[in-house]
């Protein structure tokens, strides 16, 4: 079970656009909402009304500052982090029970909640922090790529996508087959120079990240100065109204 498939027919995964992500957390909250009732056991939280609420989320949105030495291109980058559905995931091979597995048909990495013993070794083996422990359920949790949505025939075809992708208001998340070089996601990766996280560690992540685009120069000169008053009766009337409404 924990032996990895030699190849997978598809490589389903996400492409995340760091240029357009606004860090609104919509993907994270819709993920939590869907997955607390979906494929695996509920995503339970601890100390929900206390001082230290915590619990498993399958998607975490970091914020980073990137400083440009020229000072022109410094920016804040919102950075969603979830399971990358690696081609050679160590989290699967270290699993002693076979609860962790990578599907040969589409490459999705999953945990069987009925056989996981909650030893947490998979979370040690993952460099991306994609696996979190659920104290109440006693099992590990991770992104399922919404395996219970993407093949769900009760949904309209356009809804057969991961919850995070459907929720993203800026279109920063794309879902598709990264094994097919003609797919829309593969084309996007090629066009935008999509990259892997920690490629030197050799886990071959399926999910790709699109780098922030270079900033375009703001055309300062193009902004027109506000029109000055011409002293007409109408102009004086507006000035009076402005003063009265401003309260001085």
């Amino acid at each position: 079970m924990t032996a990895l498939p030699q190849t997978t027919a598809k490589k389903l995964g996400l492409v995340i656009d760091l240029d357009t992500c606004v860090g609104c957390q919509a993907c994270a909250t819709s993920c939590k909402e869907w997955n607390t009732q979906g494929y695996s056991a509920p995503l339970t939280d601890e100390d929900t009304r206390g001082a230290d609420p915590h619990g498993p989320w399958l998607n975490r949105i970091h914020g980073y500052e990137v400083e440009d030495t020229t000072g022109k291109d410094s920016r804040v980058v919102h950075f969603p982090r979830s399971c990358l559905h690696c081609e050679t995931p160590a989290c699967v091979t270290v699993c002693p029970t076979g609860a962790s597995y990578k599907r040969a048909e589409d490459g999705i990495v999953l945990i069987n909640p009925d056989t996981c013993i909650g030893c947490k070794l998979c979370s040690w083996a993952c460099p991306y922090g994609a696996r979190e422990y659920d104290v109440q359920e006693g099992v590990m949790k991770k992104c399922t790529l919404c395996v219970d949505r993407i093949y769900n025939e009760n949904f309209e075809p356009e809804d057969r996508q991961p919850a995070c992708v459907k929720a993203c208001p800026t279109g920063a998340r794309h879902f598709g087959d990264l094994g097919d070089e003609n797919s829309a996601v593969s084309q996007l990766v090629k066009e935008r120079g999509g990259f892997d996280l920690l490629p030197e560690m050799g886990y071959k992540p399926t999910n790709k990240y699109l780098p922030p685009r270079a900033k375009r120069d703001t055309p300062q000169a193009g902004i027109e100065a506000l029109p000055k008053g011409d002293g007409s009766a109408m102009d004086r009337l507006f000035k009076l109204a402005d003063r009265l409404l401003s309260g001085n």
Binding site: M1, T2, A3, G23, A28, D52, P53, H54, P56, W57, R60, H62, G63, Y64, E65, V66, E67, D68, V76, V77, F79, R81, A90, T93, V94, C95, P96, T97, G98, A99, T115, C116, I117, G118, C119, K120, L121, S123, W124, A125, C126, P127, Y128, G129, E132, Y133, D134, V135, E137, G138, V139, M140, F195, D196, L197, L198, E200, M201, G202, P211
Partner: protein
């Protein structure tokens, strides 16, 4: 890495147990049936008791201890599974060895081969324990060639110290173990010195820039959640790392005391009991540090600039 007490107890207790078991297995032929049955039975019960208590405690940190048997299934890929299999397989050989050596089941010819197999199985089990940690590429301080030898020598030196203590209590000559014990302490000190030198000198070339793909001038601006999540609690432990220098010094001091007491035990056998206590304490200090100094690569996403 967060040092879970159940795992520290498991690795130190079962380490001492397997070390003792291996030494009993190897020395049995020279001691032969002349060994008193009481000494044999008490030593075997202590060795297997430490191993069993350790194994049980290691299931305490599981979310589903009742499913622990499933961990025996994935020995083809998982070192944790291999450890479970090796631990279980050691029992029948150890029990058969104990029964024949104590004379409860008289088969003098079987003592030496059963003892040898028991020693080999003990070695394999501790080896697999070390491999669980050494195989994790995500933790540079563990993914080291010296990790497994340190585990093996810890098992051997704490087992040898226990062997000396038991021999003293039963007023028996510890034979060659009197020499083996201080030598393993010395070897352990040397291995650990080299291990610490290796991890201190290792190139910390994994950066927040590689992890995020955002280049060298990236720094954390906002964490994704208001309180610490599982990843930070489990992987982001730093308390003991701050005291690493002092704890390393304490470790060497404890080993020095244990080694000297073991030498003294040749004249005054009962100090061997104290030597074992100190060796076991040193094992706790070392294992605690081993976890605390294990810096996980995921910390790069949480503000650690490099690992």
């Amino acid at each position: 890495m967060n040092p879970a007490y159940s795992v520290i107890f498991f690795t130190t207790a079962s380490g001492a147990g397997y070390g003792l078991l291996a030494l009993l297995g190897l020395t049995a032929p020279t001691l032969g049936q002349s060994a008193s049955p009481v000494f044999v039975l008490v030593s075997m019960i202590i060795a297997l008791g430490l191993i069993t208590a350790g194994l049980l405690s290691s299931t305490l940190h599981l979310g589903h201890p009742e499913r622990a048997w499933r961990a025996l299934s994935q020995w083809k890929t998982s070192w944790l599974s291999r450890e479970g299999v090796a631990a279980i397989l050691t029992y029948p050989f150890a029990l058969a060895f104990g029964l024949t050596w104590s004379g409860l089941y008289p088969a003098p010819d079987a003592i030496a081969p059963l003892g040898a197999i028991t020693a080999i199985m003990s070695f394999i089990t501790v080896f697999t324990t070390g491999k669980i940690y050494a195989s994790l590429k995500t933790i540079r301080a563990w993914h080291q060639p010296l990790t497994v030898p340190v585990y093996l020598f810890f098992a051997l030196s704490s087992g040898a110290a226990l062997f000396l203590a038991l021999s003293a209590i039963f007023m028996r000559d510890a034979g060659s173990v009197s020499t083996v014990a201080p030598v393993t302490i010395l070897a352990l000190a040397l291995l650990k010195f080299l291990y610490w030198r290796a991890i201190d000198q290792a190139t910390r070339d994994r950066t927040m820039g590689n992890a995020t793909g955002l280049g060298p001038n990236v720094r954390q601006w906002e964490v994704p959640h208001t309180t610490k999540n599982f990843v930070q609690r489990e992987m982001g432990f730093v308390v003991a790392r701050r005291h690493a220098k002092r704890l390393r010094a304490l470790f060497f001091f404890l080993l020095l005391c244990a080694g000297l007491l073991e030498l003294l035990a040749v004249r005054m056998p009962l100090v061997a009991v104290l030597a074992f206590g100190i060796t076991f304490l040193a094992a706790w200090v070392e294992r605690w540090l081993f976890f605390a100094e294990g810096e996980h690569v995921v910390t790069l996403f949480y503000g650690n600039p490099q690992t």
